[in-house]
Symmetry: none
Subunit: 131 residues, 4 copies
DNA sequence: GTGGTCTAGACCACC
DNA sequence: GTGGTCTAGACCACA
């Protein structure tokens, strides 16, 4: 698995890491039960502080995507539903609202945004054979 | 012009203000050349810190959406598009990618997300006085 | 609200803080919408590092008990169900299993443990008038 | 004596081992004076690091549950209770408090928790060969 | 070696 | 002033 981080991005480093691992898992690139790179190792590779990697991993644990075995490492967990329907929708809506605000500010129409979302989503899904 | 700010939102106050003014202009509610409410007046209305309004206006100026005339106030600018087409798209894509990441993590399908974006977008547009 | 931390405890500092705030909220000592002590202030009071307080608060946010408003503070949120029934039970069972292991190691019988759980739970509930 | 360790458990391996030996003794499966499997043998059986088994045995010795006879091995001790009554209760209460905290955070009632403790405790006891 | 916790101190965005 | 992020470095429990 190859993780690339962009220093000058708006996105926090730990979020970039979490997102990419999340995708790798969805893509089946990381199998259930497989161990993630250790916190220290990934930190060395990316030349960032181990705490930053640890925070990314902690987020993935919270989302129920990976599990931790103390003194052993982090492992891809069996996918399970953690949040209630309401909570999932609440979180989705939050993200969508933020996109809508940005779209309006940038002067895009609903149709333009929808087309672009469809396009990018499709592109991502095609890169994730197993989902 | 009616500006509504939501305290409990994840969006920054100054961004909410800038977004809504931007929208009002796009909707034709605020005409080219028209003067915006003064920083102090708007701050009083919204019961927030004047610095926050000033920051919003500064951003709109920076975006070329409004112009400032020293000691007179802020006015809707004639020229709108400051961002190049590619720059606008880059920013939009950034927001969309963030939504896609969140959707994948929460386990929503592309169709579910698209439907919800359409729905919320419609709701927001209907809530704008005339567009 | 008065928070006391025990340095020599097995429980992590941040967990002690999270637990006590969680209880204060359940007790109605902290009302919905009320602001928690700021990270820095509480850290000063307890003479610990702000990061430790921040971690405690982050956990409470994750549990859906408090919300954060950037640059404003942390606030008691309206209680909502975040986790699925299955997930809640999974987490409860984990805690119970750990208690059972400890009980067996210490040589307590099921009845002794049950009585003690009942007793301590009652004591806690009596200290939480609003729940 | 059959020892089962669960890799994906949150309990430390050495604690699982110590707990199960402790249980077997309480259940009479291991008689006073009987010799425990050697550190190396048990480690081979469980396919884990001998250090982990050694740590478990050391804890049992420390607890007064087993005794070591130099160059011979580990034996079930005659005297069991090393912890004073108050010390045992203090440790039990600590575990119970932790369960109560988790229960309150998850929003379970005392009755729900008690029922579940009773159920899981029964299940564990039934899984012990003779008790 | 692994993760878990805590400290100290920095810089940023926002109000 | 507030929280959010990141770094650096320490010590611990565990395998």
């Amino acid at each position: 698995m190859q993780i690339r981080i962009v220093a000058g991005s708006n996105a926090a480093l730990y979020k970039q890491i979490a997102d990419q691992i999340s995708r790798s898992i969805a893509a089946g690139e990381l199998q259930v039960g497989q161990m993630l790179p250790s916190v220290r190792q990934l930190a060395r590779e990316l030349v960032i502080n181990p705490n930053t990697v640890a925070k990314a991993y902690a987020d993935l644990v919270q989302a129920g995507i990976v599990e931790t075995q103390a003194a052993k490492g982090f492992f891809v967990s069996k996918r399970r539903q953690v949040y209630t329907k309401t909570e999932r929708l609440r979180r989705l809506d939050e993200s969508i609202q933020s996109l809508i605000n940005q779209s309006l500010t940038l002067g895009f129409s609903a149709d333009e945004v929808l087309d672009r979302v469809r396009e990018l989503f499709g592109k991502v899904l095609r890169s994730l054979p197993d989902s």
